[in-house]
Amino acid sequence: MSDEKKFAAYICTGCGIGDRLDAGQLENVATREGRMNVVKQHEMLCSKEGVKMIQDDIDNDGVTHVVIAACSRRAKMEAFAFPQTEVAVTRANLREGVIWARPDTEEAKETTQEMAEDYIRMSCGEIKQMNPPKPSGQQGRNPNVLVVGGGITGMTAALEAADAGYTVHLVEKTGQLGGHVAKLHKRVPFRAAPPGTPNTPDANLPMPEETGIGEIIKAVEGGHQRRVRRHRHREHRLHRPGHRFHPLRSQRTEGVQLRRLPRRGHQPGVRGADQRRRRRSHQASLRRQGSEGRGLRPGRGPEFRRGGQAALRLGRGRPGDLRTPGAPGEDFYRSGQKNGVIFTKGDVKEVVPGDTLTVKMHDKILDEDADVHADLVVLDVGMVPNSGPDPYAANESLEGMSDEEREEELEAQAEAAADENAVTVESILNLDYRQGTDLPQLKWGFTDSHFICFPYETRRTGIYAAGPVRRPMDIRQAMDDATGAAMKAIQEIENAAQGRAAHPRVGDLSYPTFRREGCTQCKRCTVECPFGAIDEDEERYPQYNESRCRRCGTCMGACPVRVISFENYSVNTVGAQIKECSIPEEWDEKPRILVLACENDAYPALDQAAISGEEISPWARVIPVRCLGSVSLSWVTDSLNNGFDGIIMMGCKRGDDYQCHFVRGSAMANERMAKVGDTLESLNLEPERVVVHEVAITDIERAPALIKDMEETIEKIGLSPFKF
């Protein structure tokens, strides 16, 4: 392929686009203003013939850059999946973005056509700044999975990954497999009652069963299918996931020699459930055997264990909160009742010692004070994750402090660390990251991993948290979790094998690079990357680790000198769209509202709004961004200078219950945009002209309404004076 660029735009007239818009005029815009070398129309671009027309131009006509003016970039992705490394492709959203978002009326015709023409201009501008991504060659295939922790979670993950055909290296610090489950006498049953079991009180219900841990340990120690290798050593260091893994001072190793581990390729892993349990005295689960307690000896016999199991199982959660999840849980609860366990609910005030123990409590069901006599009181257990030191804990404690306070706090921290009696949290992963040695934590020390939208994902690419290190869970759930995490690790191995990004930009081949000459070594990118993907080299320039990068562009948004870019997404690709958008003269009274919408939530919400028949303001021009974190302040300044009347930034929810796919991107954007006020002031513009909103993918009515709000604001404060 020659280096010569050839630009082509293809306009689809299907799905009503041709009926609602003047396609000939759009062609004119693409040719004259967009300066495309090839412009073609097709009545159904996503059909076999339509795609073949484009492919033929690529193959025979040397087309390297393609604008597809049709439906949203979220639709027909398979049809328009041209080879990423050969052609740059962008999409002008004429269907969801224009005709479906606007009413089909005579009055709306003019503004609808203007919208479409603008999207053509913008896409033509964008494509000129885009290039097909070139593979970096940094990543390769490495079918080795490292599992840290030899408890039930770690071992399950190891066995499941081995069953899928991958080589597994299991590391257990204590040298003893089994973790906490190995210390349990029995486990709660995994299965509910079989079919045909009558619904009577005396029915045979599942009872506590063997933990089965022995079998699992045996499988791991036996090197399950010759794929599981155990490593016993105290210290290991993970160095850049994409590159190598080398242990320090390993004490004993079994199985494969660590130095024989492949040096290239990705090194994903699964964090096991190496958790500690701590008794919480204020949360008592009560158990009473019989009425007066018939000679039960504490700590002996299956009767005790069974009851203890019941308390352990049922009492977890908030105080006074008994949970019996699912059918097996309910059956187990019933089997407890059948075996004489009496369940009651209340706040415990005091446990009085004597011949038997008297538990003074307030019964919540009967709303009265009650005494319960028991031989034994089993306390509820809580779970404290063993996550290692939080890389960001020290920084967080400094937030919002004055310089003086900060200095004092740092001194206090240093003193505390120097105290030889201090409890220091030992690192588990020993990651060689600029941003710390272990996985970032969210609340209560649990690993930061979005438990619904993207479970397992941590803020360290290629490392997946499983088991109670992620959130409290029981044995069955931890085993499910381990299997899921093994799946994620395998996905990442296969993505890395092709040099592709992991979640959520799965399949993306682009990665950020920076222009060394322009870099001022300000370190903002290295500090703000939510994934710790950027280190500093010996000369203090940023050093990108492709395999850690999620391609969110938060570094790009951070860079004050705009030297960071992706081949297909940069300050210039969005800048060009802003520049190419036509700004009507002031007396036309047609405002322009720039919407920078997160491609993960806000953009699909707007698409969905159009699909559901919600109207979107004809003044809005929507540009999808990878994450609000990638938004460069210069886009805001440029668009204001170009005469845009309002700017709306739509990103995901931030904070502790964030929904940002890049964890901190949306929060970063919010912090940075606090500075926009200065820009507005210097331009003598009203602060209402720039707003940041949190928009969820389900906000299909709210997202267009937010744009409408801006339209009304502009009506109130007037058009921007910067129209030329």
Binding site: E160, D163, A164, G165, R191, A192, A193, P194, P195, G196, T197, P325, G326, A327, P328, D331, F451, I452, P455, Y456, Q477, D480, D481, A482, T483, G484, A485, A486, M487, K488, I490
Partner: protein
């Protein structure tokens, strides 16, 4: 007044190509005896969103294991 709701499986075991292990409630029990059928989400138990996602990710791996095993055997 908001009433607590239960969950009932909508599993039609007879329509599946192989016999699967059900429990008393009619949910599919994960089991080796199910052959290549791996239940996921609320087909296995009354689960919340989080557990369903967990469960489904694991079930995907179980299916991949079969595919990879067959591929290896056919070499």
């Amino acid at each position: 007044v908001v009433l607590a709701i239960g969950m009932q499986p909508s599993v039609d075991a007879d329509s599946l190509p192989v016999q699967v292990q059900l429990n008393r409630e009619g949910f599919i029990e994960p089991s080796d005896e199910n052959g290549g059928v791996f239940p996921a989400g609320v087909a296995t138990d009354a689960l919340d969103v989080n557990r369903a996602v967990q469960n489904a990710t694991g079930a995907a791996l179980k299916a991949i294991q079969v595919v990879n095993r067959v591929a290896r055997a056919e070499g």
